[in-house]
């Protein structure tokens, strides 16, 4: 069967949509700059002041409040102990020794052995090479600090995340309650809760770990729930009709069939944890993040890149190991015991001898990487701004400015009306209500105009993400070789700390909204590309062959067969692209995007702006929820 989807006839809705937009444009001309609810950068609303006072009150009562004394302190103690213990094992001088318990040789051997057992020879080699590379970069201890913190955060995330995910997978009610909480955890900018965290959990590993796991746990919960839910119904029914108890069904049927997907959740959690390394460094989290932050104080791109590269290497190793772990494999006994023996010896050596404990290498490559990165950056900064500046101006005047003018210079009730009407068209009454509530909340934050400016940039960034996603995703989906070559670059885009590439971007595009958009695209496009590539590959090969046999050109096959059949992936990519773009709003605030991103950054830096920063964080979350629900509704309509 050749499943070329015939476009369904939707004659009325697009017309109505066009009508709405037209009416908007006309009314915009009439009402321009009326009722836009602006707020100066240093101005506050009563709500913002109230949050400030609340924050101060919490801080002042810290030493007398029983909640602090008996609850937060206990949590902090447990987590601190745990992280410090992992650090003592592999990263920090400990137990009265000048070096950690296990030196570099031992860690490399353990990494290799674990990878061998769960992921096979090739990945084991990659792991060993990757870890040695960290040492050669001259960043062994920093990398191990980062690894300790990441592992601790991931372990705690999974400890809570997987059971919660199973619960959400089994119970609709639990799922409904958890969704908004997870949305909140993933889109609330870290800057907003970073300072309060140190108030609750003090400065140190505990706060850094908790900051990381707030962001990293949601993927584990979501994906586990999704995995449990996608186990086919008849499998579960069959098990139940055979008289299995609920517990048996869960342990013997649901979890084994969901295993592969759950491991994917673990993988996403690790990635998310690693993407927090630099931000956590702002509250004294040890490791590579500190190196990046410090280097950037003097705009030392080379050093920052070197450390960023170490994060990427860690990410790629951990990603490949967990991905390969989804397939069951059995190791021959001799390899298992042999590997165990060698690992034991290496660990012993690294415990005893200095050469195996501290990474001291004559073939140091860190300085070459630093110099190389600096040279490339300088070249780009010297030669490209002429072209890139023009490109920036073009996109700004052709796309960003008009969209922003429409959104931010219309009266707020007009924009709200348009969005509610569009929501109704897309998803019916329910969507319209959700959007209306979200818009009401935006007005309540007192940051309506800033929200609209941020929304305009977000939409432009998402469009760019989707264009890149479709072009590169189709290419990767159709060519294995392209996939193998591009995928590591995508991984790098996802975990390389944004600030490393922001410095050259600032030179190329100056401090502007466009720079912020480009930064968001670098971070969000990889996700969209990966999802679309997987979607394209999932289109059954026989369909594609049939289309080719019927004489379609490659172009026709892509446009008429592969893309329409992968539309589930396309909508998912758009949805995730949007969410990822929104999570970069704050980074955008650091390079000239202004609006909500800047409000959050300023709130983190200045006490009297704290309340406003929090409100801006809430506004970002609300925007995220609204756009997420809208795209999901659109997706449902389109894919059914």
């Amino acid at each position: 069967m050749v499943a070329v989807a015939a476009p369904r006839q939707l004659p009325r809705k697009p017309l109505i949509l066009a009508g709405i937009v037209l009416a908007w444009l006309v009314l915009w001309l009439v009402f321009r700059n009326v009722g836009t609810l602006p707020l100066d950068a240093s101005a506050l609303t009563p709500l913002h002041r109230m949050i400030n006072e609340l924050n101060d009150a919490v801080g002042a009562s810290r030493n007398s409040n029983p909640l602090f004394l008996y609850f937060f302190n206990e949590i902090r103690l447990v987590i601190d102990e745990f992280v410090t213990f992992v650090q003592a094992l592999i990263a920090q001088p400990s137990f009265g020794r000048p070096v950690p318990v296990i030196g570099w040789l031992g860690v490399v051997a353990i990494a290799g052995f674990v990878s061998l057992v769960v992921a096979g020879w090739r990945v084991a080699l990659l792991a060993v090479a990757g870890f040695v590379f960290l040492g050669l970069q001259g960043l062994w201890q920093e990398s191990m600090d980062t690894l300790s913190l990441t592992l601790a955060a991931v372990v705690i995330s999974l400890l809570f995340g997987i059971p919660l995910g199973i619960w959400a997978g089994l119970s609709d009610r639990a799922n409904r309650v958890m969704q908004p909480v997870l949305d909140f955890m993933q889109t609330m900018p870290t800057f907003v809760y970073l300072a309060p965290l140190t108030l609750f959990f003090l400065i140190g590993p505990a706060s850094a770990t908790i900051a990381t796991l707030i962001y990293a746990a949601p993927p584990a919960i979501r994906i586990t729930a999704h995995a449990i839910r996608s186990v086919p119904h008849n499998t579960v029914e069959a098990s139940e009709s055979l008289g299995a108890t609920r517990k048996q069904t869960l342990l013997k049927v649901l979890l084994p069939s969901a295993r592969k997907t759950i491991v994917l959740g673990v993988n996403q959690t690790i990635m998310a944890a690693l993407s927090m390394v630099t931000i956590a460094a702002l509250i004294d989290a040890p490791g590579l993040g500190k190196t990046v932050v410090k280097a950037l104080q003097t705009l030392d791109v080379g050093t920052a890149f070197n450390a960023g590269l170490a994060i990427v290497v860690l990410a790629i190793v951990l990603d490949r190991v967990t991905t390969a772990a989804t397939e069951r494999r059995k190791l021959p006994r001799w390899a298992l015991f042999g590997g165990l023996g060698v690992t034991g010896v290496c660990v012993y050596l690294s415990y005893t001898y200095l050469w195996a404990a501290e990474f001291q290498s004559d073939v140091e490559i860190g300085s070459s990487i630093r110099q190389g990165a600096t040279a490339v950056t300088e070249w780009a900064q010297d030669t490209l701004p002429f072209i890139t500046g023009g490109f920036k101006d073009f996109v700004t005047f052709a796309l960003i400015n008009p969209l922003q003018a429409l959104l931010a210079e219309s009266p707020w009730f007009l924009v709200a009306l348009v969005i509610v009407a569009v929501s109704f068209l897309i998803g019916g009454v329910r969507s319209a209500i959700v959007s209306a509530v979200c818009l009401g909340l935006l007005v309540a934050t007192g940051l309506w105009q800033d929200s609209m400016i941020t929304l305009a940039s977000t939409l432009v960034a998402t469009i760019m993400v989707m264009i890149l996603g479709i072009v590169v995703g189709v290419w990767m989906g159709r060519s294995r070789r392209a996939d193998r070559f591009i995928r590591p670059i995508l991984d790098a885009g996802q975990v390389m700390p944004a600030f490393v590439y922001l410095v050259p971007f600032l030179a190329l595009f100056a401090a502007s909204r466009f720079t912020a958009i480009i930064a968001a695209v670098v971070f969000a496009a990889p996700v969209a590309i990966k999802i679309i590539a997987d979607g394209i590959r999932a289109v059954s090969p026989t369909t594609v062959e049939a289309s080719t046999a019927l004489g379609s050109s490659s172009w026709q096959t892509i446009v008429k067969v592969q893309l329409p059949m992968a539309r589930g992936a396309l909508t998912l990519a758009a949805n995730q692209g949007l969410i990822y773009v929104l999570s970069m709003v704050v980074v955008g605030g650091l390079v000239g995007a202004g609006a909500l991103g800047y409000d959050v950054v300023a709130g983190f830096s200045q006490g009297q702006l704290y309340g406003k920063g929090l409100a801006a964080g809430v506004a970002i979350v609300v925007l995220g929820v609204m756009l997420d629900r809208l795209t999901q509704a659109a997706a449902k309509r389109w894919t059914n």
Binding site: G338, Y353, G592
Partner: protein, 317 residues
Amino acid sequence: MARHNVLGAVLVGALALAGCSGAKVGDSSSGATGDCGTFNLAINPWVGYEANAAVLAYVAEKELKCKVTKKELKEEVAWQGFGTGEVDAVVENWGHDDLRKKYIDEQKTAVSAGSTGVKGQIGWYVPPWLAKEHPDILDWNNLNKYADKFKTSESGDKGQLLDGDPSFVTNDEALVKNLNLNYKVVYGGSETALIQAFRQAEKDKKWVIGYFYSPQWLLNEIKLEKVKLPEYKAGCDADTEKVACDYPDYDLDKIVSKKFADGNGPAFQLVKNFKWTNEDQNTVAKYIAEDKMKPEDAAKKWVEANADKVKAWTAKA
């Protein structure tokens, strides 16, 4: 077959064990700490601060035998640390009246430990080439004349005034309004954005005017020129909405936790007596930022060349 391989692996391991020699862990003992105890020093994220902290940490470690724990924190978080007992000292504070009020006056967890001797300035700066070609730009009265030149994609039909680091107080929006300047404040959002803008402006002779401050390591590299705003008079910035005068000069000072001050140990004495000049700080900042020296090495170099100054800080301790 299987057993042979296992044996082989163990043998190889044993051989490796026997064959290797080398220094064993714990052969050499590390230095002991003196009676000074632990000194928790906040490191705020800019180079000038780092210079102060590096020199203080070096002296505390080498001369007073303290165990110095450096904690890298943003200002707000560092001040919070006074109350939780995790931070003993902040050694370059830029005004921050809001934090003073909250932690010194209200919560009483922090106290001032006097001036660092460094004078801080905030204001509007232009790149040197611009100041040279159009010297009259250094007076705010002439700014409107050049507003067109400062237009960017972000500022619409007005000139762009690039603001930056949200850590510092800015009155720029009010200033622009109250001085009737045809400019729009564009929030770069970070020091990085400002530095890149000024660097490029000087290199490519571009028109940039923006918020900046001294001492700052970039000024060693590019001598930015400060634009003269209406003179600061005490109280002229009282109402933030109506500000129409320049920023005050800041006497950068040191803030310590109440507990640390009451303990009155050698580390506190050192912090209290620590005082140097903009020039001193610039020297150390240059070592760190431009010569890419580690803060410890930069401090060592300066301390060795300025033994007399250091002696003055420790003599009374």
